[in-house]
């Protein structure tokens, strides 16, 4: 038996590679997918996103996955968001609004209950939950619910990182020099990659728009100009 055959055996896992897990939901950012086991947001598991401050791009990070799920006809449930998600912006990012369920329960207890119900429903692809304090026991309960229907739960919390958690993936999101920096704090299979820098909000919006409206000038050589 050659060395390659041994290394390709499914029971052999090398520390340098990501664990082999069920394929995830692609995040839409190739740089990030490359470092995530399963190539995206883990399904049947909890993802925790710690944002350094609200508005550093933590929500934008999840929008492409939400767009992909809703276009496949699955539901995305948004529970207790800090503000109302702005429908035109979501639609512009490709989210099918008729597959979006917005739930605003009154209490923390109801938030967890609603999350569990949504996770257990086979129609949901992902549940996005905003809740600061979740007891570890409640988290384990949610983990079981997510496993039962292969749904993914994305939990948004603020920067105070809890010491331990049953989440399969934990990310820390911050901003530096106009870019979003994603640090993987925990992932299945271990091994922590260096921080990933993403350009979420693009270059300033006016430039982006200006580029889109004006005809492309890059290819115009003097010869082209003379012919035109």
């Amino acid at each position: 038996m050659g060395l390659d055959a041994v290394l390709n055996h499914p029971a052999v896992w090398r520390g340098s590679e990501c664990a082999r897990v069920a394929p995830g939901i692609p995040t839409g950012f190739a740089e990030l997918d490359a470092h995530l086991p399963g190539g995206g947001w883990p399904t049947g598991a909890i993802t925790e996103i710690y944002a350094e401050r609200a508005g550093v791009g933590e929500v934008k990070l999840t929008v492409p996955a939400a767009a992909r799920l809703t276009q496949e006809g699955r539901w995305v449930t948004v529970i207790a968001p800090p503000h109302v998600p702005y429908a035109p912006a979501l639609a512009a990012h490709g989210v099918r609004l008729e597959r979006l369920l917005l739930i605003q329960p009154g209490s923390a207890e109801d938030n967890l209950w609603a999350s569990e119900q949504a996770l257990r429903a086979s129609c949901c692809g992902a549940v996005l939950l905003w809740q600061e304090h979740v007891h570890e026991r409640a988290l384990r309960r949610l983990q079981l619910a997510a496993e039962s229907a292969s749904t993914s739960l994305i939990l948004f919390r603020s920067a105070r990182v809890a010491p331990a958690s049953p989440a399969a993936l934990r990310l820390h999101v911050s901003r530096a020099e106009g870019r979003t920096v994603v640090r993987i704090l925990k992932r299945r299979g271990g091994g922590l990659p260096p921080p990933i820098v993403l350009d979420l909000h693009g270059t300033p919006v006016s430039q982006a728009r200006a580029r889109r409206l004006a005809p492309p000038v890059r290819n115009r050589s003097p010869l082209h100009a003379a012919l035109a």
Binding site: E98, Q104, Q117
Partner: protein, 495 residues
């Protein structure tokens, strides 16, 4: 022809006891003449020495905690009709017979249910879920099936030849004869149906009447025995008295679930689903509490309906003990039955989504579970609406703003530059030397994008929007009111 007779022997008792998981000692009293006499009692009462036939006063003396309920023949008849309506899911030919029997003609249903035994088991299990203990007998003629059921024999006879032999063994009591006819047969030594068949027919006809002979012939199948079939009512109505007043949600749910199973059998029989149900919990000396379940989609799944009711009951404060529960279907819609499939399909997913939404709404309220849609308006705060989840006709956003393609591209490019979060109310920003501040001075990254609209409805908007960034690098969407004051406001976060 193959007939099943369902005989609910202790119907007078079970119209009460089926509403409680562990009923107390209960006896049902019927009045024969001037004497109030116990006609049925449950096991708990029997253990205390109460027996059918006892005077009510004697029974109360034996067991001080015995509950005595009057016989309610109207409720019994209604219960039997509901059993008949429930049974239509097994065969369209259902007929009511006697005070406690339902007849089902099942020859045509055997192939669908995979034979007599699976069908029999399905009916027996179903009756148990409804809370009735029934004897089920099967025979080629309806009258014979009834007789076997009255004798308490759960036989499965499928051929007339076997029927003749087995009928002879039955006691004559099963024929439901008048007193004097019974006595006469006993006096001549005819104790079984077989004995009666062996007697000379002309003498029997003279002494007992032609009806007696006709019954024997019908049971044997030599005379036709047409039955009138039961038609289910167009609305489902049921009411159930509780044997003991209850307030706990679990106890009420137990009774309500049995009614919901009945309802779902009725719905399956009529190929419909319920979209609106109304429960009414009667209290002693107070107005009844009504709970209306409005569902997103019509359903006939008893588990789902029970779950929705459970959430509602847990949220509802009942003022005092409940004595009876009534259920009425207010809105029934046609609902086709679904083929069983190996893999989940789109229809199942829709159904799962509808059930999820109902469960959430039952506990959190309608206003807490919403969908979002776009709205054709240039003012950012008017460009979206809440709506029913899933019920999104986004046409307004797309068609009314349908414009030449270049302009549409501009519109979608503009929408892409909108923030993911919009504040419900724009927040006024502090200003330092005419520059807006939000946790530090803001630098403008993009803009201005003028938005000027709404002069016709009084919510006039003339604003210049900018994308801004504060020292902590939070991306904000701010605007400046055009005009003399020119104040700055925060309107959204890019998240």
């Amino acid at each position: 022809m193959l007939w099943l007779a369902l005989r609910v022997a202790s119907l007078p008792l079970e119209v009460y006891t089926r509403a409680a998981r562990t009923p107390h000692a209960l006896a049902v009293v019927g009045s024969t003449g001037t004497r109030a006499e116990i006609i049925a009692c449950n096991d708990a009462a029997r253990r205390r020495g109460v027996k059918p036939g006892m005077a009510a006063a004697a029974a109360s003396a034996l067991a001080s905690d015995l509950q005595i309920a009057p016989r309610d023949t109207a409720a019994e008849h209604a219960a039997l009709e509901r059993i008949a309506a429930w049974a239509i899911q097994f065969t369209p030919a259902v007929s009511l017979a006697g005070p406690s029997e339902v007849l089902l003609e099942v020859a045509g249903s055997l192939a669908l249910f995979g034979g007599l035994k699976p069908l029999w088991n399905a009916i027996a299990e179903g009756l148990q879920t409804l809370g009735y203990a029934a004897v089920i007998s099967c025979a080629p003629t309806p009258l014979a099936a009834q007789w076997f059921a009255r004798a308490g024999l759960a036989v499965r006879l499928r051929h007339l030849d076997a029927l003749h032999l087995s009928l002879s063994e039955l006691p004559v009591d099963v024929m439901d004869l008048p007193m004097d006819a019974c006595r006469l047969l006993q006096n001549v030594g005819a104790n079984t149906v077989g004995d009666a068949l062996a007697l000379p027919r002309d003498g029997l006809a003279r002494r007992l009447g032609q009806r007696f002979l006709d019954d024997l012939d019908r049971a044997e199948g030599s005379l036709p025995d047409p039955r009138t079939f039961f038609t289910p009512p167009t609305v489902f109505k049921a009411s159930q008295a509780l044997p003991a007043p209850a307030q706990e949600a679990e106890m009420l749910l137990f009774a309500a679930r049995r009614m919901l199973v009945e309802l779902c059998g009725y719905l399956a029989a009529t190929a419909s689903g319920a979209q609106r149900l109304s429960f009414s919990f009667a209290h002693h000396g107070r107005e009844a509490t009504r709970i209306t379940l409005s569902l997103v989609a019509a359903t006939r799944d008893p588990d789902h309906l029970t779950n929705v009711l459970r959430e509602r009951l847990e949220r509802t404060q009942l003022p005092c003990l409940t004595t009876a529960i009534a259920l009425e279907s207010e809105l029934l819609l046609p609902l086709a039955s679904r083929n069983l499939s190996l893999l989940p399909d789109a229809g199942q997913q829709e159904e799962a989504a509808a059930q999820l939404i109902e469960r959430l709404r039952a506990r959190l309220g309608d206003e807490a579970v919403l969908g979002l849609k776009r709205h054709a308006d240039h003012r950012p705060e008017c460009a979206w609406r809440t709506c029913q989840p899933g019920n999104n006709t986004d046409a307004a956003g797309a068609s009314r703003l349908r414009q030449p393609e270049s302009r549409e591209a501009v519109a979608s490019a503009a929408a892409a530059s909108r923030p993911l979060w919009l504040l419900a109310q724009p927040r006024a920003l502090g200003e330092v030397e005419d520059a807006p501040c939000y946790e530090g001075p803001l630098s403008l990254l993009a803009g201005p994008e003028p938005i000027e609209s709404g002069w016709w409805d009084g919510h006039d908007v003339t604003r210049d929007y900018f994308v801004a960034c504060n020292p902590a690098e939070a991306m904000l969407w701010i605007y400046r009111e055009r005009g003399r004051a020119g104040k700055w406001f925060l309107h959204g976060f890019f998240g």
